[in-house]
Chain length 140, copies 2
DNA sequence: TGTTAGATTGTAACTATTACATTATAGTTA
DNA sequence: TAACTATAATGTAATAGTTACAATCTAACA
């Protein structure tokens, strides 16, 4: 818990139980949950929690680079990640699980002398995950 | 116009004025418009158009691979593209223009023997476009 | 030309998110 | 420790984009 307090203090953000709950939940549940999933999970032990608080804190933490937000190509809801270092995502079209892809790709090298100045890259992959491949022969 | 009729016929879709309008608009305006932008533009000459029709037809055309849909990481609205061949997008953080990036990248080769079966890739780039670089020295 | 499956329309509902006003509290100060 | 104040939490209402639905219409075909 001290880890989260330290992180918030570093960014000059007030330490509130709600913020600690959100950080703890994201850290312990690396499934890239949506705002509502975070809200529903925390509400079990802290029924007074407001969804607005979840949104507010998610915003401020994303702005401070404590957590990361992203969105899948075919989904309309934002998802959140405790991990802020460069990585990509793989979503399984069968079970909808989201996996981290830590392979680094040479995205920017290609654009050294490109007409536009490329600063950021966002990418994600889709397919069938190893579990679904194992359980369902039709995906082979 | 015959081009669009042919395309719709090939997919066994009825030829309606609304469908032809949407296809023609997307073909002649390669700016990756949103559903509402398509609607607003066509409504000028065809005021009876319903937004539901735009959504319905966009859906059916995406499903038939006549047009492509995508979404930018920080936007909540879908955008549409007449071009369905593999390509990526670059969005300018200054003027918000969206450019096609036709450079092919070796995304899938990396995953030949990967634990998950990778089938699709989606990616987009962000930065400052050549026009904004020219017009604004602070971006250099 | 009549028939009908599928398309169009307008309205209402829905989902994710944001705005806003009120109340509460974390962190600071006396 | 008590008081103060800037910031945070809460609940409600508003918004944006999209989808559901029922009534009406029309493209395609016999
Ligand atoms: Mn991740
Ligand atoms: Mn494009
Ligand atoms: Zn799976
Ligand atoms: Zn620009």
């Amino acid at each position: 818990m001290q880890k989260y307090v330290k992180e918030l203090k570093y960014h000059k953000l007030k330490i509130t139980p709600q913020r600690l709950d959100i950080l703890k939940f994201l850290d312990n549940n690396r499934v890239h949950p949506s705002a509502d999933e975070i809200y529903q999970a925390i509400k079990i032990d802290s029924p007074a929690l407001s969804k607005t608080t979840v949104y507010n804190n998610i915003d401020v933490m994303v702005k401070n680079n404590i957590i990361k937000s992203f969105r899948f190509m075919d989904s309309n809801e934002l998802r959140f990640d405790y991990k802020t270092t460069e990585h990509y995502h793989f979503i399984c079209r069968e079970c909808k699980s989201i996996y981290d892809i830590d392979i680094s790709l040479p995205y920017f090298e290609k654009f050294k002398n490109y007409k536009h100045k490329v600063e950021e890259f966002y990418g994600d992959y889709k397919g069938v995950c190893e579990n679904c491949l194992k359980n369902n022969s039709k995906n082979k």
